[in-house]
Amino acid sequence: MVQYARTGFDASFAALSDATRRGVLEQLGRADASITDLAEKFDMTLTGMKKHVDVLEQAGLVTTEKVGRVRTCKLGLRRLEEEASWIEKYRQRWCARFDELDKVVEELKRKEKIDGRKKRE
């Protein structure tokens, strides 16, 4: 399990270690773009850009979709969704605990009140 995670991180770090690839992510953050668009913007050959996009795609940072002859690239939302879903899971776990803790707190409050009453009597 840990091994899988680590592989994912290595891929992400490798992908982010290159200035062009970071630029591509920034660009895709603004708008989806085809490989041709990106190649033009970064003044590179199509083949060169395709290699960069492949690296980003393998790291899960970018997804691509080919429609006809155009391959459109977008930010890899999958990863963001994954993160959102595990945070939600984490929240639910605490939520469940805290709902139980509510009961303990109510019980202690009641007990304190009874004890207080006894002391006064």
């Binding site: 399990m1 840990v2 995670a5 680590r6 994912g8 991180f9 994954e82 993160e83 595990w86 945070i87 899971k89 984490y90 929240r91 776990r93 605490w94 939520c95 469940a96 605990r97 805290f98 709902d99 139980e100 803790l101 509510d102 009961k103 303990v104 707190v105 109510e106 202690l108 409050k109 009641r110 304190e112």
Partner: protein
């Protein structure tokens, strides 16, 4: 005052979680009781056991040892032998602050800080988990820990199935 209304828990308070930075998760929740009571529920093993492993988690605590003082250790064991959570208390300020390490995951474990802030008879609880690195938090999220729980649940099922088939033959 309406005694009945007072004794029944009012609407549940919201639990919010925020990834405050690459290394931090912050959870907040308000409790309808004074800080000293909420603190007691976090630091008394018999009480802690009652809420830490709710039924929806599918597991219950078999044992819970807590030596709540600076440098003191805690150890929580789930019914599955291999599942244990343990660490050391780094700070203990009665009714207001607890800090402990989470050492079951090796060096990647977070440091947990819980603060209890009383406001008008209610307590705002802030649970802050600081991981040693972004990767450690990501790894926790992508589920090394959760996956482990699921693995055990699956193993349980498998053992049941095996038990059943052995019983039949």
């Amino acid at each position: 005052m309406d005694a009945r209304r007072e004794s029944e828990p009012t609407m549940k308070n919201d639990t919010t979680v925020e990834r405050k930075s690459e290394r931090e998760l912050v959870t907040t929740r308000t409790f309808n009781g004074p800080a000293r009571i909420v603190f007691e529920a976090w630091t008394t093993p018999e009480l802690f056991k009652r809420w830490w492993a709710p039924k929806s988690m599918g597991m219950s605590l078999r044992s819970c040892e807590m030596d709540v003082r600076v440098g003191g250790k805690y150890r929580l064991e789930f019914e599955h032998d291999a599942m244990a959570f343990f660490g050391t208390y780094l700070e203990v300020t009665p009714h207001s602050r607890l800090v402990w390490t989470n050492e079951e995951g090796g060096e990647g474990g977070p440091v947990t800080t819980v603060t209890f802030e009383e406001q008008g008879g209610k307590t705002l609880l802030v649970l802050h988990e600081l991981y040693p690195s972004k990767e450690a938090l990501d790894a926790a999220g992508t589920g090394a820990a959760d996956a482990m729980v699921e693995t055990f649940a699956q193993l349980d099922e498998l053992l049941l199935t095996l038990g059943a088939s052995v019983g039949r033959s």
